[in-house]
């Protein structure tokens, strides 16, 4: 089985891995680099549990080949918090109890932070459409949306 050498940057750290061509970026992150915060839900790009940033753009890591990460910058859920404290989006998910089983949560947090980085003051409709690619089967979404709204408010106050 021929493996391909991949050099990539994950959460600011240079990483090297050997990867089979059919392996996804999700496989590379979890199985080769041990970054298991990113979750596999559907494996077909429908649920968003495996959401990461690839060169600053949100993607489903299950629909990216590991070999495509060559020379790219990847940001995963492990790269969201500061070393000493949670990111405000993470904190608000806790405060609003915006998770139950937690499988969808890393994807929601990566996607929600990307939204707030792009648009610091999104209305509810914008939040719901932006997060339409992240499925949650536990919370019914309202708590998630409220957590994102609260995070936006707090970021606005602190800036």
């Amino acid at each position: 089985m021929k493996k391909v050498h991949v050099s990539t940057t994950v959460n600011g750290q240079p990483e090297e891995a050997l990867c089979e061509v059919h392996q996804s970026l999700l496989d590379l992150l979890r199985d080769e680099l041990g970054l298991t915060g990113t979750k596999e839900g559907c494996g077909t790009g429908d649920c968003g549990a495996c959401t990461v940033l690839l060169d600053g753009r949100l993607v489903c890591s299950c629909l990216v080949l590991g070999v495509e990460a060559e020379g790219k910058e990847v940001t995963t859920i492990e790269g969201i918090a500061d070393p000493d404290r949670l990111h405000v989006v993470q904190q608000k998910f806790l405060e609003h109890a915006a998770l139950q089983c937690g499988i969808c949560t890393p994807g929601f947090i990566v996607a929600a932070k990307a939204l707030l980085d792009k648009n610091p003051d999104p209305d509810e409709t914008t939040i719901r459409y932006w997060l339409a690619g992240n499925l949650c089967r536990c919370t019914g979404y309202d708590k998630i949306v409220r957590a994102v709204q609260d995070a936006a408010q707090e970021l606005a106050q602190s800036s």
Partner: protein, 291 residues
């Protein structure tokens, strides 16, 4: 799935020679852009080993240029990137909206209009929108590039006019004349992330007295390929694209459709809905042209 191989050429010539070598050896090669169809397919019904040829490292497939007479959009431009281009959004709002309809934010970080066309699904949302804008495919071929109008590109369900040794570089789209508007609408049973039951695109141009001088109408998901409906366009040309002209275009689209019944809708339903979508898209295109 042990025998997948991967190439990421950095020039058109290199990409063509990778494809030609693979073809000479009798090995299957498949071009990879955003992978939102290819990777899903290779994990489900089509997991035969192959060479995946990533065309995202070519300058040409990543190019967007807005010239005096025409616009070029590279085949690997992700929808999310496309929709951040305000100038293109002003020129071809319907085309950009059709790309924006497909998939979530995450999918739009990867999916491209080039990939949507090459996947050649009957329900590809960008295809009618490309057709009404008179888009032309620029196809890389070892004898030089060749150009094919989008309406002639798809040959059947999942098939197109490219050989295994060719790939799509991008689209040439004529700059819309003054007083031109386009629109694309599709029907899905929910508001986000579904596959069209029916879709219709319209582009219209008016003269300075408010008479339509040019029209193109295309319908999707109601035949094996997206269709350019000349009868519907002719129903609009020479009119002010008023209600009666739009009703005539609606009837022409319903007549041109040859849909199937499946879990998304019946023949009768699709035939009706595609006409309604044409009328509504025509109204939006008209209002955009005259705005």
């Amino acid at each position: 799935m042990s025998s997948y191989t991967f190439a990421a050429p950095t020039s058109i010539d290199e990409a063509l020679s990778v494809l030609a070598n693979s073809s000479r050896r009798g090995e299957r090669a498949q071009v990879l852009a955003g992978g939102t169809d290819v990777i899903v397919q290779m994990r489900s019904f089509d997991n035969e080993p192959r060479l995946l040829v990533d065309v995202k490292k070519l300058a040409e497939t990543n190019e967007v240029s807005i010239g005096e007479d025409e616009v070029f959009i590279g085949s690997a431009i992700a929808s999310g990137v496309l929709n951040e281009n305000d100038e293109l959004k002003r020129m071809f709002p319907g085309l950009l909206e059709s790309a924006d309809l497909i998939g979530s934010t995450q999918i739009q970080g990867r999916a491209s209009i080039g990939g949507n066309l090459c996947n050649s699904s009957p329900a590809g949302d960008t295809i009618p929108a490309l057709i009404v804008n008179s888009s032309v495919c620029v196809i890389a071929n070892s004898n030089g590039n060749r150009e094919v109008p989008v309406e002639d590109f798809v040959t059947g369900v999942g098939t197109n006019c490219m050989s295994a040794e060719e790939f799509l570089i991008g689209f040439k789209i004529p700059r819309p004349p003054a007083r031109t508007g386009d629109a694309y609408l599709r029907f899905i049973p929910r508001t986000e992330m579904d596959i069209a039951v029916a879709g219709a695109g319209v582009s219209v141009t008016f003269d300075d007295s408010g008479v339509c001088t040019r029209a193109r109408v295309s319908i999707g998901a109601v035949a094996p390929t997206a269709l350019l409906v000349a009868d519907a366009a002719n129903a609009l040309i020479g009119t002010q694209v008023d209600d009666s002209a739009l009703r005539a275009a609606e009837a022409a689209c319903s007549a041109a459709a040859s849909p199937i019944t499946d879990k998304r809708g019946t023949v009768e339903y699709r035939r009706k809905v595609v006409g309604v979508l044409c009328r509504r898209a025509g109204t939006i295109a008209r209002d955009r042209a005259l705005a």
